[in-house]
């Protein structure tokens, strides 16, 4: 299955290289012949693999959505035993169909999509069962979704992801786990003076996921899962950093009278776990510039988190986190340039654009008249886009002609990239 997947990926990639002029049409055909795909019809069939994956995944999502909507509209009119049986039957049909397609008929992509459908029906089943049997779907204050169902969904989903090598199922499981942690923290510390400080735990969770991603690279069979953890860790950490770039959380902390040394023990326990994972991934990885730089950045983030958790009442942190956010953006651009990977450059530039736009709205919304706000904002956005596009083209052009330091860099097997992990 791995080799087939590689051949399909290569067939897709050489088409892109040929389109971009990196290789000639003859070279493209020669490469495809080398992997036994010289026939044009075969090439077309190979390239359709990506389309099949996309269509089948969308199909699984749409079907699961439809089933849930059907249940939501007709649900209460059905007897309990029937509703329970329908949930189990739907799951078994999806998993059984997925298994047969993958292992009897060799249709891995559609089969994998049916496994995803089974996972979606399993999670829907958790909520439907809770509804059928009269268990609360929200936290004690009736405001957030009950975190226990999300945690149970993660516990049921993660083993399937590892057993069948599905990265999208893994991402789904991690998302459930992260959301359960967030809702549990909110429910546990809601309306207490510790509510704001426990937000840091979410950032520490992001750093931990990132470290776990690198630890996955140590085992060959788990290497491809590492990318998913790196992606999830990056998104979670950056999301929290983004929230902390605003003044409001820090003003709320001061207004609420939160004093130094008031963070609950959970924050420091999370800090210790994250630090241990960061140290473990550093110790386990080969000592190169990339590993040292990444570990240094993670250690710096943990230090900032420890300082903020201990002495939270300072509005200047907004400036610090703006610095962290734009430094992260610059880091992505630099990494993309060094690795010769355009996707990092694009993601870093996207962060710059989001950061600039956010600060513009944050600062000028209340200062300017609506018309002036939008006119100046539009001009500013166009100017930023122009500058970013020029920078991007320059960087990408330099990467392509081999001016950058990536000349001597070997392609990395498991370079995580933000946006394509599943």
């Amino acid at each position: 299955m791995e080799e087939k997947s590689y051949v399909e990926r290569l067939a897709h990639d050489v088409a892109v290289w040929q389109r971009e002029g990196l290789i000639t049409a003859e070279q493209e055909r020669a490469i495809l012949s080398r992997i036994g795909a010289g026939e044009p019809r075969l090439i077309g069939a190979l390239r359709m693999g990506w389309l099949v994956t996309a269509v089948s995944l969308i199909g699984a999502l749409v079907l699961a959505g439809g089933v849930v909507l059907l249940f939501a509209s007709q649900w209460r009119e059905m007897p309990d035993w029937f509703r329970t049986a329908v949930v189990f039957a739907g799951m078994f049909a999806a998993y059984g169909g997925g298994y047969l397609l993958m292992y009897r008929y060799g249709m891995e992509r559609v089969g994998a999509a049916l496994l995803l459908l089974g996972v979606l029906l399993f999670e829907a089943g958790l909520y439907l069962f809770a509804d059928i049997y009269g268990l609360p779907l929200t936290t004690a204050n009736d405001e957030q979704p009950a975190p226990q169902y999300l945690l149970l969904a993660a516990i049921g989903t993660l083993p399937l992801a590892y057993a069948f090598g599905s990265r999208i199922v893994l991402l789904f499981g991690i998302a459930n786990f992260i959301l359960s942690a967030i809702f549990w923290l909110i429910a546990r510390y809601v309306d207490t003076e510790k509510t704001d400080s426990v937000l840091i735990v979410i950032g520490l969770l992001g750093v931990s996921l990132y470290a776990v991603g690198h630890l996955h690279a140590l085992r060959a069979t788990w290497e491809k899962f590492g990318e998913v953890y790196l992606f999830a860790g990056t998104v979670v950490t950056l999301s929290l950093v983004y929230v902390f770039t605003f003044d409001e959380p820090w003003r709320a902390i001061i207004d609420d009278g939160i004093e130094s040394y008031a963070a609950p023990p959970l924050v420091y326990v999370s800090l210790a776990v994250a630090a241990a994972l960061v140290a473990a991934q550093w110790a386990a990885r080969p000592r190169d510039v990339e590993a040292n730089a990444e570990t240094g950045i993670l250690a710096a983030l943990l230090t900032v988190a420890a300082v903020v958790a201990t002495w939270p009442a300072w509005t200047g942190y907004a400036v610090v986190f703006n610095g962290v956010f734009f430094a992260a953006a610059a880091g992505f651009v630099t990494r993309g340039y060094l690795c010769g990977d355009e996707r990092y450059v694009n993601f870093g530039l996207l962060l710059v654009a989001v950061g600039v736009l956010t600060r513009y709205v944050d600062v000028f919304w209340s200062l300017l008249a609506n018309s002036a706000f939008f006119i100046i904002g539009g001009v500013l956005l166009l100017a930023v886009a122009f500058g970013l596009e020029r920078l991007r083209r320059t960087l990408v052009a330099r990467m392509e002609v081999g001016v950058g330091p990536s000349d001597d860099a070997q392609p990395r097997a498991a370079v995580p990239h933000p946006g394509a992990a599943p």
């Binding site: 949930v87 799951m91 399993f122 004690a140 009736d142």
Partner: protein
């Protein structure tokens, strides 16, 4: 053993088995909450047993159907639901001890019942709410209604099961200490 789980079918069976167990645990937990429910006796506002006779009788109103936020401890603002914390009195009936906007309790050995509330007005510092618990549409079936006492001045109550989440289920009527069957409309 590890060789067994290296094959796809045993792996799938193991993983799906885990998911089935998780789903069954939800049902199991519900059974646990049903087994550990509290039984409370809620007194009705009416003292005339004929008011609960037959399916055509009006929905009942409990003493706790009206609560006064200004006299009861706990929260005084509510979001989605109101949780009434009940304590047992010497005569075996249950009366409100506190009001909450969440499922948290203030006292030991109490029961919690959840309801939807409507602001019923206030004056002279009093803030009253009408609370609907979903156990109001109950009556004594016709065949048993014939044995209900007549006239006013009787103590009429409903025995209700409440779980840890405040969800309630009426079980039977109790009129002057005597049980009567209960049906829901």
């Amino acid at each position: 053993m590890s060789e067994l789980f290296s094959r796809p079918l045993p792996k799938l069976i193991a993983v799906v088995g885990l998911q089935v167990l998780i789903l069954l645990s939800v049902i199991g937990f519900r059974q646990y909450t049903l087994m550990t429910r509290d039984t409370v006796l809620l007194v009705l506002q009416t003292t005339d047993p004929q008011a609960i006779a037959g399916p055509d009788s009006a929905p009942v109103r409990y003493e706790i159907s009206t609560v006064d936020v200004s006299t009861l401890p706990g929260d005084d603002e509510f979001m989605h639901s109101i949780y009434v914390e009940l304590g047992e009195t010497e005569d075996g009936t249950w009366q409100p001890l506190a009001l909450h906007s969440t499922r948290h309790r203030s006292y030991d050995n109490t029961a919690m019942i959840k309801g939807d509330y409507i602001y019923a007005g206030g004056s002279l510092g009093r803030q009253r709410y009408t609370v609907v618990y979903g156990i109001e549409d109950v009556y004594v079936p016709d065949d048993a209604a014939a044995s209900l006492p007549s006239g006013s001045g009787h103590t009429i109550a409903v025995e209700v099961k409440v779980d840890r989440y405040g969800q309630s289920e009426p079980v039977r009527f109790v009129v002057d200490g005597e049980p009567y069957p209960l049906e829901e409309r």
